[in-house]
Amino acid sequence: MKISPVRKYLREDRLPTIFCPGCGVGMIINATITALDQLKIDFKKTVMVSGIGCAGRIPGYIKVDSLHATHGRAIAYATGIKLANPELNVIVFTGDGDTGAIGISHFVHAARRNIDIKVICVNNLNYALTGGQFSPTTPKGAWTYTSPYGNIEGFFDLCELAVAAGASYVARWTVREIFSLVRSIKKAMKKKGFCFIEVISPCPTNFGRRNKMETSQELIRFFKEREISVKDAQGLSREEIRGKLIIGEFIDRELPEYTETYKELILVSQKRFKEPEKPGLAWIELEIRY
């Protein structure tokens, strides 16, 4: 029997996982580890941080230093870890609730700082671990326990938000595009800056089942029918892309990274200012910058 190369990176003593049959998380774990393995990233120097929800359980199954933190705060914990030891590779797994609702401020501000953290957001379109309530990314009209007459709120485009906030690299895939996902994770790992990868993931148990999609296959078909690439979406009006799921790379740019700039600040403070209180620090221009 051929054993998956991913397996050696798992905490085998913790298997089986808590994830339901048909859940997309397994594919995302597989894609992440594959990307790290292909890049020969040192797992000893890698820290995985997560919040609460199904995605929050991911780091606990991988043989790395990991922190399963409080709901929404994973990126804030990761910010402290990365700043305290910039040598570490810091990967954060969040869910749509962590990123789009309770922890949205940390997400936006980590992107604004452009701190070198890689966020993989498992968007399963609902609060699944609590039994299936609507989240900021639940499609309009969907049935959940807290939208028993259909969800009246709109889908939150987390990728657009990350771009606006200043992230270095932003991409969205569904679990259908697993090779693109691996490529994106590899790209993100090589990049110095805040990277956000959103993965639309099937949740047959709590989302699909209640919206006439009993299996992952049906959910994946649901994604497929709505997918449109970033390229194809360009030039289309808001009306024309309504109801579409835009996938691909939203941005890939070089921007100053926070821990690097902080190192510079330390040097400047030590060399040039015994008392860093004088205005007009010449090493950073006064500007309003987006």
Partner: protein
């Protein structure tokens, strides 16, 4: 005695806290501006880069404490500082630090509440929040300085206790101490006792991250050293893995509670004056204790046999000390700037052995010795 001359400075309480933190080895600070604690973060912003430390202003207090806990996991000594409303926001993550046993120091410069309350004026109304603010069981350690010197000394002690017991330690200052300026002696680094967290002695493959010896405090690995520790706020076993097994949970909660409770005698500190012949003992802490001592001295001049107990450790509560004093005096008067918090602890500790009176002053103004004297006369007439 050290030959090298100690530095004498004239500082406000908030700055003395920063001096103490840096002497204790604090190299990471995350915070969010809030009156009356902001000078702590301003001073950290200025000083930490100069010694290669990390300062970050986060987007809120939830993020501040989270970043500080994250930094502590990498082995740095980390701190955050806030005041009432911000302290409330930190509670959930204080719970995580208790559960995952992460050393961290939190300064709460108490101001009047509830809600926005009295941002620029003092109170002592966060005593119970400090202990019971996070949900669930678990213990914290809290120290209350009464002078600018103690702001410095107790911050050093807070870091030592956090490292020794792998737990959050809270420094309970208040708006009076924050901006009070006094002469402070800054100790030389070599004369300070610094305690560092226990590190694993076993190689990674043999290391069981939450298995404690008789001290009940397990050694702590640093992220990135290959120990591959999993930290979770969930109930976890000795390996750090989540489990909802009732027996396991009971053992975990018992251990993280006992590591503080069983060591309470070692942790607690207090000061007494004129206790020997006292009929009435004034009990106070923080800035209120200053007026209490003054009134005690005045009362003795007027012939009243009054004693004084200043609580330095609030949590764990020095109940044995209070009980012992209650056995020798007939009356106690608790003085605090709230509607009654420590007074309940005193009543519980005295077990009815002494009559416990309570006098409070809320409104942000400090106690005046004359006001307390009036109470002393009323009680002792």
């Amino acid at each position: 005695m050290n030959n090298q001359k100690r530095k004498i400075d004239f500082l406000q309480g908030n700055d003395a806290i920063v001096e103490g933190a840096i002497l204790a080895g604090c190299r990471f600070f995350a915070g969010y501006p809030i009156t009356p604690s902001s000078e702590i973060m301003e001073s950290m912003a200025k000083k930490l880069p100069l010694i290669g430390g990390v300062f970050i202003q986060m987007e809120d207090e939830l993020g501040s404490i989270a970043a500080a806990i994250g930094a502590s996991l990498t082995g740095l000594k980390a701190m955050t500082a806030t005041s009432g409303p911000g302290f409330s926001l930190m509670q959930e993550n204080i719970g995580l630090a208790i559960m995952c046993e992460v050393p961290i120091v939190i300064v709460n410069v108490m101001r009047g509440g509830p809600s926005t309350g009295l941002p620029t004026k003092a109170s002592q109304a966060d005593i119970m929040q400090t202990r019971w603010g996070h949900h669930g069981d678990g213990e914290v350690i809290a120290l209350a300085p009464w002078s600018v010197q103690e702001c410095l000394d107790l911050t050093i002690k807070a870091f030592n206790l956090a490292e020794e017991y792998r737990t959050p330690v809270i420094v309970l200052s208040d708006a009076i101490l924050a901006h009070l300026r006094e002469v402070v002696t800054i100790p030389n680094p070599e004369e300070i006792e610094i305690i560092e967290r226990k590190r694993p002695k076993t190689p990674p493959e043999e290391f069981i991250p939450f298995k404690a010896d008789e001290t009940l405090v397990p050694p702590m690995a640093v992220l990135g050293e290959g120990y591959r520790v999993h930290y979770t706020g969930l109930s976890h076993d000795e390996h750090g893995y989540p489990t909802d097994d009732p027996e396991n949970y009971r053992k975990l909660i018992e251990r993280i509670t006992a590591k503080i409770r069983k060591n309470a005698d070692k942790i607690v500190s207090w000061d007494t004056k004129y206790i020997e012949d006292a009929e009435l003992v004034l009990i106070s802490y923080g800035s209120s204790a200053r007026a209490a001592l003054q009134s005690c001295i005045e009362a003795r001049k007027q012939g009243y046999n009054v004693g004084f107990l200043k609580l330095t450790t609030i949590w764990p509560f020095p109940e044995k000390t209070v009980k012992k004093i209650a056995e020798t005096v007939s009356k106690m008067l608790v003085l605090e700037q709230n509607m009654g918090q420590v007074v309940h602890l005193v009543k519980e500790a005295t077990e009815g052995k002494a009559e416990v009176e309570f006098y409070s002053k809320v409104g942000g103004e400090p106690f005046l010795p004359q006001e307390i004297l009036k109470q002393i006369r009323r009680i002792m007439k």
